[in-house]
Amino acid sequence: MKFRTVTGLLFMYFVLIMSGCRSDSTDNPRAYVEGQMVAATVDFNKIRHKIISNNIVTAQTALQAGGSFTLSGPISNDGFSLTSTEKIKSFKAEKSGLTISADSMQINVPKGITYLKFIEIVLRK
């Protein structure tokens, strides 16, 4: 009888665990951006990239030697922007809906996009 109680409790645990294992909510979004920079005259070591969401810098990185970068940080549900320290001329990405801001310093990413891969980002210089 006591063993049956223990087994019952274990079963309850199992049910609770299984119900807790789902991760299909969008409550806690995180952006992941990777890409390649192309520039003629700029020193890659001087460029910094940032992910800005809700006016908070949630991720920041320098470029790797070849001009590639990987960046990830938590974001809000209203989308985010990728900011550079040099003016951006054009970009090629796998997703549509992205725009370059008026001052050419950042790429605005609409809400709903959390994974982004840039084939290339071309700088003005």
Binding site: V6, S25, N28, K50, V57, Y115
Partner: protein, 201 residues
């Protein structure tokens, strides 16, 4: 023949000496411990952070049939690995709070040496400071389960010391469109080792 008689004479003594009388009441205990924890696998806690160190408190209720229930509270502290800031984000001083509720079973190895196994349910809270905002925090909640073992040595009367190992499975709710990235930032296995002091009453 003589040996057989001797054995017959001794055996009741041996038999009776092994059958110690056990108290039939529920025993409770509380403990304090220091902890070290290392996440493993291909995930952000394992790759982007240094090992966690911390402290914890716990309590157990043990019944005479050697099954019991217990609860553990642990607080862990870590730092972001140098060179992994781009992957972890612009976040600092990660702290993790773990609450484990478990069923436990006790094996008596000898008079002052016990082994306990536990299995149960875990709640996690991972807190990070936004470097950009100083005092504001990013809080993540997660659930999971754990399995563990504990070796206990009795010092005298109600005082005991123990070493415990535990494997915690972490299921977070971080969202990303890419399934691999989502898995990287939401699932982990945490291995922890603790050294503690326990008082029974």
């Amino acid at each position: 023949m003589r040996i057989a008689i001797l054995l017959l004479m001794i055996s009741p003594a041996l038999f009776l000496s092994q059958k110690r009388k056990k108290g039939l009441d529920v025993v409770s205990n509380i403990d304090v411990k220091v902890l070290a924890m290392k996440p493993i696998g291909n995930n952000w806690l394992a790759k982007d952070l240094q090992p966690f160190y911390g402290f914890g408190f716990g309590g157990n209720l043990m019944t005479p049939i050697n099954f019991g229930v217990g609860i553990d509270y642990s607080a862990y502290f870590s730092n972001v690995d140098y060179g992994r800031r781009n992957s972890y984000g612009n976040l600092g001083s990660p702290r993790m709070t773990v609450i484990d509720a478990f069923l436990t079973h006790r094996d008596e190895i000898s008079e002052d040496f016990y082994i306990e196994e536990m299995a149960g349910f875990s709640f996690y809270r991972l807190t990070n400071n936004f470097i950009d905002l100083g005092s504001e925090q990013l809080k993540e909640k997660a659930v999971g389960f754990h399995l563990g073992g504990k070796a206990i040595y009795t010092l005298d009367g109600p005082q005991q010391v123990f070493v415990a190992g535990k494997a915690n499975f972490y299921f977070g709710n971080t969202f990303n469109e890419n399934a691999d990235i989502r898995r990287y930032y939401s699932r982990s296995v945490l291995l922890s080792l603790s050294l503690g002091y326990r008082y029974n009453f």
